[in-house]
């Protein structure tokens, strides 16, 4: 019994680590890219199309595709992080782009007309006003990543998928649940925590 419990904890920690690293990198890439797209509309479409295509690749296939690719591929954690990262990019890029483009034109015009520089407009006006939408994108990406990360076990990156694959091959639903329940709890906790943050920012914006 002790062994099972510590294994659940260990794999949960691995799972959270995978998601956390992947989402952090996805935010570091996705938010600047989303902002850049609002400055250069012409590059926006191809980037969104690329992120969309990645999103449509079945997750198991994406993990499989990455294995033979040199440097970023192979078996293990880094490949899993890259796959999760690719999946998380679309919601983050799209929401950053939507959030910033959604800033009222009158507000932007007033900001320009009063002599704010482009970077002042970005940091003092556009980013604060779009934080709620950006966070919604990060929340969606996180919840998806928690689910997709169960497949990381298939390429040897560990995580709660270990239980699910083992349980499926043993035809033992208890083992499956040992992976599925903690994964669901992580997703719920992430959703709850992020939406609390989101509400916080939205309230600040309106009041």
């Amino acid at each position: 019994m002790w062994g099972a419990r510590s294994e659940i904890l260990h794999l949960t920690a691995e799972h959270v680590f995978l998601v956390f690293v992947a989402i952090s990198i996805a935010v570091a890439i996705g938010v600047p890219v989303g902002i850049l797209m609002t400055r250069r509309p012409r590059i926006g479409k191809p980037i969104l199309a690329f992120a969309n295509v990645i999103q449509t690749i079945p997750s198991l296939a994406l993990f499989g595709f990455l294995i033979p690719i040199p440097y970023i591929g192979g078996i293990g954690t880094s490949t899993a992080v890259i796959a999760l990262l690719l999946y998380s990019l679309l919601p983050i890029i799209r929401n950053t782009f939507t959030g910033i483009s959604g800033v009222e034109p009158a507000v932007r015009e007033a900001a320009r007309g009063m002599g704010m520089t482009d970077s002042q407009i970005l940091w003092q006006v556009e980013i604060p006003l779009s934080l709620g939408v950006v966070f919604a994108g990060i929340r969606v990406a996180t919840v998806i990543a928690v689910g997709v990360a169960t497949i990381a076990a298939a390429i040897g990156a560990g995580g709660l998928g270990m239980f699910i694959f083992r349980g499926t091959s043993m035809l033992d639903y208890r083992v499956i649940l040992a992976g599925a329940i903690p994964a669901a709890l992580i997703a719920l906790a992430a959703d709850f925590g992020m939406s609390a943050l989101e509400k916080h920012f939205m309230r600040e914006r309106r009041s």
Partner: protein, 211 residues
């Protein structure tokens, strides 16, 4: 105060935006304080010119005081001077600083928002003020109230103002000179009295609205 009068699409707003370089002239030059706007740094130029638009464009995430203090803080005034200036500006536009300073734009009525818009434009004491139909979206009673107060304000401050409107009554109430615009051309710049005797179809069409 020069009032630019014309129908929708006659180029009033375009002309206004050429002054603070939100738009660039394709030909010709625009002089502000005797200098071609092209020789100005656009950021410096805009901070030198107050700008008020119909939709106000107050920052929804800043309270009233921070909105008004925006240009002074961009210009790195000392904080004490900024807060004194905010108080002064709020009183100037008839809002009690203790009540309204901490409110957010969504907690204000349309008329109050426009007062804050004017206060914000005046905060850094720019010698020139551009106003693009600032009272256009207000109800008639509030509009009349703000027009009267604004006329007083203009008398007291004596700043150069360019005021865009399509409302001939507003043009007559506020303008020391009226610039009539039609299809992208400025067809006349005259005093309100001279306007009524202009031998021009567009001028007669507008004057006809006065009856």
């Amino acid at each position: 105060m020069l009032v630019l009068l014309g129908r929708s699409g006659s180029g009033k707003t375009t002309l206004l935006k050429l002054v603070n370089r939100l738009l660039e002239p394709t030909a010709g030059e625009v002089l502000v304080s005797g200098r071609n706007t092209h020789s100005w740094d656009p950021i410096q130029l805009r901070r030198h010119i107050g700008y008020v638009i119909q939709e106000v464009g107050l920052f929804p995430h800043f309270n009233v005081a921070r909105n008004i203090g925006l240009v002074p803080s961009l210009e790195a005034w000392p904080p004490q001077k900024i807060s004194a200036r905010i108080q002064e500006m709020l009183r100037l536009v008839g809002l009690d600083p203790d009540i309204y300073g901490r409110r957010y734009p969504h907690e204000l009525s349309g008329g109050q928002r426009q007062r804050v818009g004017v206060a914000r434009a005046l905060a850094a004491d720019p010698p020139v003020l551009l106003l693009d139909e600032p009272f256009g979206a207000l109800d008639p009673i509030t509009r009349a109230e703000l027009q009267r107060e604004f006329r007083e304000l203009h008398r007291r401050l004596g700043k150069t103002m360019i005021f865009v409107t399509h409302d001939i009554r507003e043009a007559f109430l506020l303008g020391t000179r009226i610039g009539l615009m039609q299809e992208g051309r400025l067809v006349a710049i005259v005093t309100p009295d001279e306007f009524l005797t202009l031998d021009h179809d567009e001028a007669r069409a507008f004057a006809g609205c006065l009856q």
